[in-house]
Structure formats: structure tokens, C-alpha cells
């Protein structure tokens, strides 16, 4: 007999049957659908949080490494600067020493050259004097042979040499 609502044992029986079927369908959905997906979501959350914490750790380690290297880098720069400065100083010193030595050598050469030149000068003077004496003697002997005595001849010779000595080297 169809009806909309009724309160009797029929209601209790149908209610019990419905309780069983509702619990059954919820259990089936639970096993088939919800659990696998919830597990998947939980795994994914865990994986992401693992990745995140690992990334944070690695970032920390990387930062630490970087500060270390930066320090070392600063130190290295300082060391390099020092080395360069020292080398520079040493090079300067060496330069000065070399220049001084070279100057000394040059001076020495110069004085020696001057001495040589003087000596050569003297020698040349002497040679010319001797030549002139020879020529003058020949001239004089030829001139004086005819008219002068020996003494006058020697006196004339000395005067001419002296004259020649003063005037010849003027040019």
C-alpha cells in the first residue's frame, strides 16, 4: 500500500536496511576513491616539503661556502697586492743600481779616453816638432851654411822652433 509516511515497524525495518546500504556505499567510495587520492596528495605534500627543506639546507650551505670563498678571495687580493709592491720595489732598486754602475763605467771610459787623446796629442805634437825641426834644420843648414856660424845657427833654430810651437798649434 503506497503511502508518503507512516510510523510503524515497516519504518524501522526499512531504516535498518538503508543504514546498511549507506554505510556500504560510503565504505566502497572510501576504498576505491578517497584513500588512493588522499594518499597521493599526502605523498605529494610530503615530497614538496622535503624538497623545500632540502633546498633551504642547500641554500644555507651554498651561502656559507660563498662567504668563505669571498673571504679567501679578499685575502688573495691582498697577498697579490703585497707581492706586486715588493717586486716593484725590488725592480726599482735594481734599476737604480744598474744605472749607477753604468754611469760609473761611462765616467771611467770617458776619463781614459781623455787621457788617450792627450797622449796622442802630445805624441802628434812631438812628431810634428821633429818633422819641423828636420825641415828647418835642412833649410837653415842650407841657408846658414853659406853665411852663419854654428852657434847662431842653433840660436836661430831654437827661436824658430819656439815660434813654430806657439803658432802652429793655434789652428
Amino acid at each position: 500500500m503506497p503511502r508518503i509516511i507512516g510510523f510503524d515497524a515497516q519504518l524501522l525495518a526499512q531504516t535498518a536496511l538503508h543504514i546498511i546500504s549507506v554505510l556500504l556505499v560510503i565504505y566502497i567510495l572510501y576504498r576505491l576513491l578517497f584513500n588512493p587520492i588522499r594518499k597521493l596528495l599526502a605523498e605529494r605534500t610530503e615530497r614538496i616539503s622535503n624538497d623545500l627543506s632540502e633546498a633551504a639546507n642547500q641554500k644555507e650551505a651554498a651561502l656559507k661556502l660563498r662567504t668563505e670563498y669571498e673571504e679567501k678571495l679578499a685575502n688573495i687580493n691582498q697577498e697579490a697586492d703585497e707581492i706586486i709592491r715588493e717586486a716593484h720595489k725590488k725592480a726599482l732598486n735594481k734599476e737604480k743600481a744598474t744605472i749607477a754602475k753604468a754611469k760609473e763605467e761611462a765616467d771611467r771610459l770617458l776619463t781614459r779616453a781623455q787621457l788617450d787623446i792627450e797622449r796622442e796629442q802630445l805624441k802628434a805634437k812631438d812628431d810634428i816638432k821633429k818633422e819641423i825641426v828636420g825641415i828647418a834644420t835642412l833649410m837653415a843648414s842650407k841657408f846658414v851654411e853659406s853665411s852663419m856660424s854654428e852657434r847662431v845657427r842653433h840660436q836661430l833654430l831654437d827661436e824658430s822652433i819656439k815660434e813654430m810651437g806657439d803658432t802652429t798649434w793655434l789652428h
Binding site: 508518503i4 509516511i5 507512516g6 510510523f7
Partner: protein
Amino acid sequence: MDVQGIIDFLIGWMENVDPKALVLAFSAIGAGIAMIAGIGPGIGQGFAAGKAAEAVSKNPEEGARPATIVMLLGSAVAETSGIFSLVIAVIILFANPLVNKEGVGIVLAASALGAGLSMVAGIGPGIGQGYAAGKSAEAVGKRPKLQSMIVRTMLLGQAIAQTTGIYALIVALILLFVNVLK
């Protein structure tokens, strides 16, 4: 004029009427009276809607959506008194259990009328639950982050306020289905 004469005049005719027709007649009156309980949810839900609109205007960016959701929830719960009355009216009209029962005609008729009258108690919970819904919507509009706590408190309070409506429903169902008044 004696009182007995008046009562006989007013009610005496019922004894000569076919009991089934009497029951049906009073069922019709009972069903109609039961729907008077529509007053309560009307007032309550209107109050809730007004408070929610005010909350939306006070906090448009953040509080609009939570306030609307809370208003809908509270109004739906406030609707239940009207729904209970509708259920009793439908039962009386479509599946009248008293029509084919054996008993004194007027007692069955009065049971139907009494069931309808008892559902008028739905006015109270309707107004009260609507008031709770409106105040909750206002509170959620002010502080949207507390929505779940406020909704939980509102639902608990509304469930407690529903109890007199439940009492009325139970009494109506007993009058209709259980043979108490023999």
C-alpha cells in the same frame, strides 16, 4: 438560555455528520492553521538578509562572500520550522491517517485540528534562528577569518533553539499516528 443549550447548538450538529467527513473537514482546517507558522521564518530570514546586507556594505572586499554564505546557512536552518509545518500539512492532506481509523468521529477530527494547531509553535524558532543567522552574518562580515568558529556557534545555538519546534512536531505526529486519545 442555559449553557448546555448553546453548546448543543454549536457543536451538537457534529454528531449527525458522517465521521469521515468530519475528520476530513477538520483536517482541512488543521492543515491551513499549520501553515500559519510561515510567519516565523519570514520574519527571521528577513532580519538575516538585512543584517547580511549591512555587513556586506561595511566590509565589501573581504567580508562580502563569507557573510553571504553564513546568511544562506543560517536562513536554511531557520527555514526548518516552515518545513515541518509543510510536512504536517501535506501528511494531513495527502496521507490522512485518521480517515480510516476506528474511533469516535469527533475525537479523530479534533486530533487533526490539534495537530495543525500545534505546528503554529514554529513561529518562535523561525524568528529566533533568523535573528541568530543575522547576527552571525554581521559578525562574519566584521571578521571574516573567524568564519568557521562563528558558524559552528551559530549552528549549535540554532539547533538548541529548534527544540521547541521539535516538541511541537512530535506532539503533532503523536496526535496523527498514535492512538492516544481513545
